[in-house]
């Protein structure tokens, strides 16, 4: 049913429809509305989950880890400082191969304290072993949560759905919230494998010590599974489209002139603005990253076949080095004769205007290692 909802409320509605057994989170701007809504839905009798109030994000993450280890569907949400506070547990959840789903309402990291949108928070855990997806608009944020649970449970890899704080979470847009029975059709109940979760009848230990002899093999196992998760993501996006009638089955989306030599590359809600600019500019394309982890090297190489001048724009930076996404794109295009420039902007919620995007497009004849701050 189509409703006009604030992004965070829409996400809460979809999470409820995904039938988690345990929800635990700690409030932090700009994610708070998501979990407040989930608490409200439970209080009003619309939600069937255990809502566990935690005293911190570290606690909330540990609670969902434990819940998932006991073989049930678990969910949490956070942002910025909250994500950093639970960082240790984020790594543990992935290392233990638990299919937790988390919403990260992307927000800048202190210091200085800033509550507005940028992508830095999610970047701090990019190596943790989670699948990381980025939504462009509220509908995609909603849809990615269903796909997240489905993919996580198939692969035993946790999934983080990223949505720009305030820009998406606090913006009211028309969204389609599907019927429960259709979500049930797409997402069956969670069936953990026997002997791989905590259960009295079949006792096992999870999270055991691994000696130098074994640790690396286990990490490599997760790395390989993340790389090959691309196939599962694509196939689940395809299944989603079959049942819900929307969404594209691709890990990166190409928009604009298919043979454009000049291509902008970015992710998240800013792509909506970039698409507007491209609609009024000839010979420019946009490559939008939907899946950041796994990093879809082959799809990027294939869709940038004609591009000669690529400008990566990101709302994050590796201080002392430069644009993070830009570095990964350069790595993916290694050996290709293309110009790749790095633009950093929108940090701490600084507005990215149409003029700034036009400036990126006009900045040709540059091929520099340094990131340009907008």
């Amino acid at each position: 049913m189509r409703k006009i909802l604030e992004g965070s409320i829409a996400v809460a509605e979809m999470v409820k429809l995904c039938r988690p057994a345990v929800v635990s989170a700690y409030p932090i701007t700009p994610q708070t509305h998501i979990v407040e809504e989930l608490a409200k839905l439970k209080a009003e009798g619309f939600g069937d989950y255990e809502f566990v109030r935690a005293e911190s994000e570290f606690s909330a993450a540990s609670i969902v880890l434990g819940a998932s280890a006991s073989g049930v569907r678990a969910y949490t949400a956070t942002s910025s400082q909250g994500l950093l506070y639970m960082a240790e547990v984020v790594f543990t959840i992935a290392g233990m191969r638990l299919p937790v789903v988390m919403t990260c309402a992307n927000r800048a990291i202190s210091a200085p304290i800033n509550i507005w949108n940028d992508e830095q928070d999610s970047m701090t855990v990019r190596d943790s072993g989670w699948i990381m997806l980025y939504a462009e608009n509220n509908q995609e944020a909603v849809d990615l949560h269903a796909i997240a649970f489905k993919v996580a449970e198939q692969l035993n890899i946790p999934v983080m759905v990223n949505m720009d704080g305030f820009v998406l979470t606090h913006t009211t847009e028309p969204v389609d919230i599907p019927e429960q029975k259709i979500v049930d059709q797409y997402l069956p109940s969670y069936s953990p494998k026997a002997g791989e979760f905590l259960e009295i009848r079949n006792p096992v230990s999870l999270g055991a010590l691994a000696t130098p002899e074994h640790y690396q093999s286990i990490r490599e196992d997760l790395h390989q599974d993340l790389l090959s998760s691309q196939k599962v993501l694509l196939s689940e996006m395809k299944n989603f489209k079959k049942i819900f009638g929307r969404g594209s089955s691709e890990l990166v989306e190409y928009y604009g002139d298919p043979r454009a030599k000049k291509v902008l590359l970015s992710r998240g809600s800013i792509c909506g603005t970039i698409k507007e600019v491209i609609d009024n500019t000839r010979g420019v394309g946009l490559l939008r990253i939907k899946s950041y982890r796994p990093f879809p090297v082959q799809e990027i190489r294939q869709k940038l076949k004609f591009a000669k001048d690529i400008s990566v724009f990101e709302k994050c930076v590796s201080l002392g080095s430069g644009g993070i996404l830009a570095g990964e794109v350069r790595n993916a295009l290694f050996g290709e004769n293309k110009k790749i420039n790095s633009f950093v902007g929108g940090l701490g919620g600084r507005d990215i205007t149409v003029k700034m995007i036009e400036k990126i497009i006009k900045a040709t004849n540059k091929n520099t290692h340094d990131s340009i701050f907008l």
Binding site: M96, R97, L155, N156, G195, E196, F197, P203, V204, S205, L206, G207, A208, H214, S217, I218, D221, L222, D225
Partner: protein, 88 residues
């Protein structure tokens, strides 16, 4: 996921942590008053009573040397100091 991460119970059947200790408790049974303190404080739960109570009128305590890590809590807490920690 090629490597299974869940571990079946019973690893201690093979992993005998007693090999970790550098000193072990020795009980002087003549001075022992059978209060049971050493059994209660042992973090590993490897102190247990032996011997026939009726026969001797006293319970002897021994340590399971397969798992005793030599922490010395039994010796520290014994009210009559009849346990001494000796190099293993």
């Amino acid at each position: 996921m090629k490597i299974k991460l869940a571990v079946a119970p019973g690893t201690t059947k093979e992993n005998k942590t007693g090999s970790w200790r550098t000193s072990r408790p020795v009980v002087d049974h003549n001075r022992c008053i059978a209060c049971g303190m050493c059994m209660r404080v042992c973090p590993e739960g490897c102190v247990f009573p032996v011997g026939d109570k009726a026969l001797q009128g006293k319970i002897f305590y021994e340590n399971d040397l397969d798992y005793c890590k030599g922490c010395g809590l039994c010796a520290e807490e014994c009210p009559v100091k009849c346990i001494s920690m000796q190099k293993n």
